[in-house]
C-alpha cells in the first residue's frame, strides 16, 4: 500500500480556523474602479500622485494571449482584439491578418487600499471590458462597481492585489516606545506556491 493506514487530526476542526481573518476588514479598506486618472483624483479617496501611480502601475501589467480563443476564454466572446503591434486589423474577424498576440480591451484600473500585516497596503490592477459587458480583472474575475465606482473586493481580488501592492507612505508622527515587529515589510506576499 502506498498510503498511510491511519491518520487523524488533533487540533484542526476543533478550532474555528480563521475566525477573525474574514472579519478583519478595516474601514480604511477601499477598492474602486476608475476609467481615468482624473476620475480617480476627483473621487478624493486617493491623492493626485497616488492616482497617477495607480494608472502607470496598471498600465505596466498587460495581459496577452497567443490566440483569440484563450483570451476569450477569460474575458468573454468578442472581448479581445489583435494586439496593436499587429497590422491594422480593425474589426473584421474574417480577414484579420494572422497575429500571435491577442489582448482584451483596456478600460481603466482598480485601485485598492487595505490592511495587511499591520500596515496599509495599496496598489492597482488593470480592468478590461468583458465581452458580455461589465469589467474584468486580468485574472478574468468580474468586477461590478456601484454608482460611485466602489467595488466589494473578493478574497481573490485581494490576493491578486497582493502581487502589486506596496505599503502606503503616510506622514504620521511615530509613536513612542518599542517598534512593532520587524518581519512585515514583505508580508503582503502570500507566502507560498
Amino acid at each position: 500500500m502506498k498510503r498511510s493506514k491511519a491518520l487523524s487530526l488533533l487540533l484542526m476542526g476543533s478550532l474555528t480556523l480563521g475566525g477573525g481573518v474574514g472579519c478583519s476588514k478595516s474601514d480604511k479598506e477601499q477598492f474602486s474602479a476608475y476609467s481615468t486618472v482624473t476620475e480617480c483624483i476627483e473621487d478624493g479617496k486617493f491623492t493626485d500622485q497616488e492616482c497617477q501611480e495607480f494608472a502607470s502601475q496598471a498600465g505596466s501589467q498587460s495581459v496577452q494571449f497567443s490566440s483569440r480563443e484563450d483570451c476569450e476564454a477569460r474575458f468573454g466572446e468578442g472581448a479581445c482584439e489583435a494586439d496593436s503591434a499587429a497590422p491594422a486589423a480593425t474589426t473584421g474577424a474574417d480577414s484579420a491578418p494572422r497575429t500571435s498576440s491577442w489582448a482584451p480591451m483596456f478600460w481603466g484600473f482598480m485601485a485598492g487600499r487595505y490592511l495587511a500585516g499591520g500596515q496599509t497596503m495599496q496598489g492597482a490592477t488593470p480592468l478590461y471590458r468583458a465581452g458580455a459587458g461589465g469589467l474584468r480583472t486580468p485574472w478574468g474575475e468580474s468586477v461590478s462597481p456601484d454608482a460611485k465606482g466602489r467595488v466589494a473586493p473578493t478574497a481573490a481580488m485581494r490576493q491578486n492585489m497582493n502581487h502589486v501592492a506596496k505599503p502606503r507612505v503616510e506622514r504620521q508622527t511615530s509613536r513612542s516606545g518599542k517598534p512593532a515587529g520587524g518581519f512585515n515589510k514583505n508580508s503582503r506576499s502570500r507566502s507560498a506556491s
Binding site: L11, M12, G13, S60, S101, N160, H163, S189, S191
Partner: protein, 387 residues
C-alpha cells in the same frame, strides 16, 4: 494516467467543515474539486514520479553542498553576502529540513519534467497530505472507488516522524503572515502534526515577532523563540527590518537557511549544468537580455517569485503570455517551454512531496491557463490499474 469523472462524496462540504478545511472555495469558485480525479498505475507512480522525485531530491542536496562553498553560485542566486555564512553554517550544522514540493509536468507517456522546486514555503499541504487521503478512504467506503484503489500518500505520517526527530528544547513556534486564511490553516495543520509528534507548540504571526536588545527573537508574550517554523519565504525575511539580525540570532529555523539555495529558481539552471540531458530536467539557463537562448521557446521566471507572478512565455522567439507582478529585480532564469499535458482542456501540474528528503506523496493542481497561479483547483488522485 487517466482523468476520471467521479461522484463527489455527498456530504463533502460538511466533512471539510468538521476537519477545519474552510478554504475549499476561493472567491466562490471551487478550489477543492472531487468531481474528477487522476488515476495512475502503480508503475507510473513508482517509476515515473516517486523514483525521479527521490533522485532529484538527492541531486538537490549535492548541489547545496557545492553551493554553500561557492561564492560564485551564491552570487548567481542573488543571496546577499551578509547571509552567506549563515547559509553555509546551517548546512554544516546539518539543520533539518521538514518538507518541499517538486512541481512536475507529466502525461503518463514521457518522463516527468521538473518545472520548479517549492523548497521553502510550499502550501496545499493540508489538502494534499490529509484531506486527499480522507477522500480516498471515504470514496472506497461509499463505493465511489473500488476497494483496491490506493494513493501515493504518506505525507502526514512522514511529517509527524520528522517533527519527532527535531531536537526541540522547549517550544516550537509556528508562524504565518497575517491576512491569509490558507497560510494560517497550513501552519495550523503543521502544528497539529507537531503536537502528534509530542512537541510543545505555539502558533504566532510573523508580524508579531519582537527582538530583544541582544537581537534575539521573542514572541508577543516575550517568550524566546528558539525554534521557528515559518511559512514566510527566506528572501522576504532577509529584506525585512529584522533581516540583519538573522545571522546572529539563536533561533533554529524550519526550513533552514540552506533551503534558500533550493527555493531559488536559479536551482534549475544549476541542476541542468550539472546533469545536462537528465530525463526529468528541462534545459534551463540564467537569462540575461541580449543573450542567445538555448532554445527558441522558453519561459522566463524571476529568481524569486510566487503564485505564477512575472512569468513570460516565449514561443518561437515571440512573447505569447506574460503575467503581472512585481518580482524580478534580482534577476531571471529561463527554462525550455514545456506545457502541462492537456486532459479535457485542463493542464494538471503534479506536486511530489519531499519530507525529510524522502519522496512521500503526490498532489495535483489543474488549471486551464498555462501558469499555475493561486486560483488553480486541487484535484485528488488514486492508484488504480486500467480496466
Amino acid at each position: 494516467m487517466r482523468r476520471l469523472k467521479v461522484d463527489p462524496r455527498e456530504n463533502w462540504q460538511d466533512i471539510a467543515r468538521s476537519k477545519g478545511f474552510n478554504f475549499h472555495h476561493v472567491n466562490g469558485d471551487l478550489y477543492w474539486d472531487e468531481s474528477v480525479c487522476y488515476a495512475f498505475s502503480l508503475r507510473e507512480i513508482e517509476e515515473d514520479l516517486e523514483g525521479p522525485a527521490q533522485e532529484l531530491a538527492d541531486m538537490c542536496l549535492d548541489l547545496v553542498a557545492e553551493a554553500v562553498e561557492s561564492e560564485r553560485i551564491l552570487e548567481q542566486l542573488a543571496i546577499p553576502p551578509h547571509f552567506w555564512d549563515m547559509t553555509r553554517d546551517s548546512w554544516r550544522r546539518n539543520e533539518p529540513s521538514l518538507y518541499g514540493r517538486f512541481d512536475f509536468g507529466y502525461d503518463g507517456k514521457g518522463p516527468a519534467k521538473l518545472y520548479e522546486y517549492n523548497a521553502d514555503t510550499p502550501t496545499s499541504l493540508y489538502e494534499g497530505a490529509y484531506f486527499q487521503w480522507l477522500w480516498l478512504e471515504d470514496a472506497i467506503r461509499q463505493g465511489i472507488l473500488p476497494a483496491q484503489a490506493d494513493q501515493f500518500n504518506s505525507i502526514q505520517e512522514a511529517l509527524i516522524e520528522t517533527f519527532g526527530l527535531f531536537q526541540v528544547d522547549g517550544l516550537l513556534h509556528l508562524a504565518s503572515v497575517k491576512g491569509t486564511e490558507e497560510d494560517r490553516a497550513t501552519v495550523e495543520y503543521l502544528r497539529d502534526c507537531a503536537v502528534q509528534a509530542g512537541l510543545d507548540t505555539k502558533q504566532i504571526y510573523m508580524e508579531d515577532i519582537l527582538a530583544d536588545s541582544q537581537g534575539q527573537f521573542m514572541d508577543a508574550d516575550q517568550e524566546p523563540i528558539y525554534w521557528l517554523f515559518k511559512l514566510y519565504p527566506w528572501e522576504c525575511m532577509l529584506g525585512d527590518d529584522f533581516g540583519l539580525l538573522l545571522p546572529g540570532c539563536d533561533t533554529t529555523f524550519v526550513e533552514p537557511p540552506w533551503k534558500m539555495i533550493l527555493s531559488n529558481k536559479g536551482l534549475l539552471p544549476l541542476l541542468w549544468e550539472r546533469h545536462r540531458g537528465h530525463p526529468n530536467l528541462l534545459p534551463a539557463w540564467f537569462h540575461k537580455p541580449g543573450q542567445t537562448p538555448l532554445s527558441d521557446s522558453y519561459v522566463i521566471k524571476p529568481l524569486f517569485s510566487r503564485e505564477g507572478a512575472n512569468i513570460r512565455v516565449i514561443n518561437h522567439g515571440e512573447e505569447i503570455f506574460s503575467s503581472p507582478g512585481e518580482y524580478g529585480k534580482e534577476g531571471h532564469i529561463a527554462q525550455a517551454l514545456h506545457y502541462p499535458p492537456n486532459f479535457e482542456g485542463q493542464g494538471p501540474v503534479l506536486g511530489l512531496w519531499i519530507v525529510n528528503n524522502n519522496s512521500r506523496g503526490l498532489s495535483i493542481r489543474e488549471d486551464s491557463s498555462p501558469i499555475t497561479g493561486d486560483l488553480s483547483r486541487f484535484v485528488p488522485h488514486c492508484i488504480l490499474e486500467d480496466g
